[in-house]
């Protein structure tokens, strides 16, 4: 546990609780009502160039969760820096930037572009969901420079062998991202997307335990819908937790 405390310090986390990328937009929220104190803010995914919403964007609910396919729209790195960098600098919370990279050269270019920004303390690198491990290693290596780098890994990939090469890249931590899945949109269309919901908690716990083999700090996410869910992941060895879609619920104390 002391190792996790040290990892949190290295990642500028005052508490082990934060949002997951894609859940609170590009700026720290004026109010965080989830009943655990927020230790850092992480932005929506930011790509080098602007991304438009997916043509077949949809939310498909299933028992225990939902599939979200949005295309991860964002205005691109340059526009994000123009619009949001001043607010990140003024935020009382450390800001983590989630960078959505497609290849090592993009990873290097984006990491260099954000170095030295006030308030930006950590880079979380999101990789294409089906990216071969060898390429993922190259991307993470390319992003590692001044700022601590966290690899955001879809939690269904936590058992893959290539992760054994991660410690050599200089990466500071692995964060678990939403796993990918597919559901029928209609009788002839299969929709692929990110999965969220309470049913993911056992998978997240399994992934945290599996990733202990790497001796890299793990930031857990998936299925956290209460403080006790997050505490279970912390007890399983995670150094921090990212709350995702549960943050969209109106959290009030009804007692």
């Amino acid at each position: 546990m002391a190792v996790n405390e040290s990892a949190r310090q290295d990642l500028f986390l005052a508490t082990p609780w934060m949002n997951a990328s894609g859940t609170l937009g590009f700026l720290p929220p004026p109010r965080w009502s989830f009943p655990a104190e927020m230790g850092a803010f992480i932005t929506n995914p930011i790509s080098l160039r602007p991304r438009h919403p997916a043509r077949e964007r949809a939310v498909l609910e299933y028992p225990g969760g939902f599939l979200l396919h949005s295309g991860l729209p964002n205005p691109g790195l340059r526009a994000c820096l123009n619009r949001f960098a001043a607010r990140w600098a003024k935020s009382s919370l450390p800001t983590w930037l989630h960078l959505l990279v497609q290849n090592p050269s993009e990873a290097r270019e984006m990491a260099q572009a954000v170095e030295g920004l006030d308030g930006v303390m950590v880079l979380e690198i999101g990789i294409p969901s089906d990216l071969p491990g060898k390429d993922a290693i190259e991307m993470v290596s390319a992003a590692c420079a001044e700022l601590p780098v966290v690899l955001n890994l879809p939690l269904n990939r936590a058992g893959e062998d290539w992760l054994g090469l991660l410690p050599s890249t200089g990466v500071s931590a692995i964060s678990l991202g939403a796993p990918r899945g597919a559901l029928l949109l209609d009788q002839s269309t299969l929709l692929h997307g990110r999965l969220y919901g309470p049913a993911l908690l056992p998978l997240a716990l399994g992934a945290v335990i599996s990733l202990q083999r790497l001796a890299i700090p793990v930031i857990a996410a998936g299925g956290i819908y209460s403080v006790s869910d997050g505490e279970a992941l912390l007890s399983a060895g995670a150094c921090a937790v990212q709350v995702d879609a549960a943050l969209w619920k109106p959290w009030i104390n009804l007692l």
């Binding site: 894609g22 929506n44 225990g64 939902f66 879609a245 969209w248 619920k249 009030i252």
Partner: protein, 232 residues
């Protein structure tokens, strides 16, 4: 915007699904076309439900269907809102048409009441007349909707996002043709984040001047002026 609680007093079954009657403070009441984002603490819904107003009187909010099937009378529901941009019925409108193109007209009911209150004639285009419709509202089949453009000075539509692209055809408007009356469109789609995340799943192709942009139903809408939407 307020964050608070509402109490589910009664669950009703309507032709379009389950609806609810809530004790709701006035400051949380959604205007016509606005919504509350609500969830039942301790229940396993993975994201909150958008509640639209069907009617509001004396602190009792009747919502349009649907309601989560797990919610029961007596439950305290956490809610955020009112959220979004609602309908803006012109005070001078005297011929008001309403139409639900996704099978529901319940989200237009409050607007119908407001139009009647300002002594407008109201025509509702619907496949089947909704319950509790005031007698003064004339109901016409959806096939006659294009005729509304000639009669109405204000037309409010409730359209699923997936049907939005075909709307000009439904109104028999030629590409690029502007309608002859003011039109507002409630773009109905799932809005899981309620504007908190800019998640993009409710994105609507829109215009800012002549430039194409994306607007989000959850925070820029769900009601859009006809001229805001990019129709081609």
């Amino acid at each position: 915007m307020p964050l608070g609680s509402i109490t589910l007093l009664e669950v009703t079954l309507q032709p379009e699904g389950i609806a609810g009657i809530f004790a709701c403070p006035p400051e949380m009441r959604p205007g016509a076309g606005q919504y509350l984002l609500a969830s039942a603490p301790g229940f396993p819904e993975p994201f909150p439900t958008a509640l639209f107003t069907f009617a509001y009187q004396d602190g009792r909010l009747t919502t349009a269907p649907p309601l989560p099937a797990t919610w029961t009378a007596g439950m305290t529901i956490a809610a955020r809102g009112p959220l979004g941009t609602g309908f803006d019925l012109p005070s001078v409108a005297r011929h008001v048409s309403l139409a639900g193109l996704g099978g529901s007209t319940a989200r237009l009911q409050l607007l119908a009441a407001q139009a009647l209150a300002q002594e407008a004639s109201v025509v509702l285009f619907a496949a089947t007349p909704p319950p509790e419709l005031p007698d003064e509202v004339e109901v016409l089949p959806l096939e006659e909707l294009p005729g509304a453009l000639a009669w109405a000075d204000y037309l409010a539509l409730d359209v699923p996002l997936s049907h939005l692209g075909s709307l000009p055809d439904r109104l028999r408007l030629k590409p690029g043709e502007s309608p002859s009356c003011r039109i507002e469109v409630l773009v109905y789609t799932t809005m899981p984040c309620g504007g908190a995340a800019d998640c993009g799943v409710c994105a609507v192709p829109a215009r800012s001047g002549s430039a194409p942009v994306w607007k989000y139903a959850c925070k820029d809408g769900p009601v859009f002026g006809w001229e805001e939407i990019a129709w081609q």
